[in-house]
Amino acid sequence: MSSSEETQLREDLRRIVQADAPAPDLDAIERRGRREQRRAVAFRGLAAAGVVGIAAVGTLVAFRHPSASVAAPATVAPAKSAPGRQATSTAPTTAPQLDNVAYVRQQVDAAHDPANSVVEEKQSGIDAGNPPQTVWTDPATVNEMMSSVIDGGKVTTWQHQYLDSRRVINVDDTQVNYGPRTWSYRTQNFGTPISGPAPTSPVNVVPYIPAAMLKAMLAQGSVKIVGHPVIDGHRTVELSVSLGKQGRAETNFYYVDSQTFQLVRLVRVFAPDSARPASETSDYTWVQRTPALTKLINHPQIPAGFTQVPPGS
């Protein structure tokens, strides 16, 4: 590998890890360290007592049976171990209450707090026959950047939603089409101001993103816990909720990671309807919000030399 590639690798790794790490919980670390030290000491004590006991029995046997020529050794040298190889128990002391909706709701709420420095990365179109699409959503702004391949060419769309001074929701669409090297821009508004109290965050304005929907439905109590399947190696909590009526009915199955409580999959199962597939699956990953990624999601990038065309053309 050339030194320029090595330089590139160094730079890429530096950028990949560019994020604020959470401060370690030093109190918890010290508590656990002390607990494990006590356990190790107790275990060594038990082991030593066992060895002494065996030795005593051996001695007794040797004493009572002169034919027994060698008594068991009274001590055992402790095994040497490499640093970091000592067993550390990471199992929780109490089992998570994964069947308790109130507990799951609390964890899901915390995991999807827009203040968390994460960005949602969604893979959709997995089973719906549509072109696969990757969507990044910044939970803090609910702005989206979508990337897909249509007719062999990459298309990136930015969808930004915001309230204007009249409290009307506006949606800006910026689309870059890399096949014909064109871009378009369209803005739409919902016409009438939103009612009710002033929203306190973008998530209140646009509450239909899946994690926010799940939070809202958990709050309403309309969600049931139906299982704990393993998805791609992650143990999950499967939650179901029925929506709509008759011909438009659909059941949504949400899968949240049983450790992080972040949404990892959404399966929408539709009532028989010729216009729609039987189901639609989206997979979610939560990636660290880096300055580069948030800039990319929240600020459309038009490559130099691309031509502006009317939207939809």
Binding site: L26, I29, P83, Y178, G233
Partner: protein
């Protein structure tokens, strides 16, 4: 707070960011990385007198971290060892700002799938900036092994290091 505790806390806070960064590249998920760092620091606390007397406390701690990551990797069939990183978007043949993000996404995915020792070698050499000799010391192997592991890892990662601009 005891002197031991104060010393340990200062050490842990000073190394925390670097440990998180290395842990992230070793497992590909910030939550798992945080767990790895916590487990590593618990071990450091338990063996603090040994760590502070070591010739290179940093090398000692890196070795603990890498051993923890390897143990989790080995347990991957039974638990949740490394992140399941979703497939990234298709890389366009025309340069655009999203390409670098997608390329690095692919690089991280490929890195996490490397055999443990190759992955650890890349992290130590190219993130931590250690020499071959220092890497060999941390991994407990020869410099020749570090060289061959580096060569193999880089051969796998090479395609993710080609910048789009250079291809168009």
């Amino acid at each position: 707070m005891t002197g031991r505790s104060e010393e340990f806390r200062a050490f842990a806070l000073d190394r925390s960011l670097r440990l998180h960064q290395s842990a992230y590249l070793l497992c590909g998920d910030w939550h798992l990385a945080h767990d790895l760092v916590q487990d590593t620091l618990v071990n450091v606390y338990r063996h603090w007198s040994r760590v502070r007397q070591a010739d290179s406390p940093d090398a000692y701690v890196r070795r603990i971290l890498i051993n923890e990551a390897r143990d989790r990797w080995r347990r991957r069939d039974k638990a949740v060892p490394v992140a399941d990183i979703a497939a990234g978007p298709t890389i366009a043949t025309v340069p655009d700002a999203t390409d670098d993000i997608a390329r690095r996404d692919g690089l991280l995915r490929a890195l996490v799938e490397l055999p443990h020792q190759q992955r650890a070698t890349v992290v130590l050499r190219y993130l931590e900036g250690l020499s071959q000799a220092e890497t060999a010391q941390v991994l407990g192997c020869s410099e020749g092994t570090v060289k061959s592991q580096t060569f193999r890892a880089l051969a796998t990662l090479r395609k993710y290091l080609e910048r789009t601009e250079s291809r168009s």
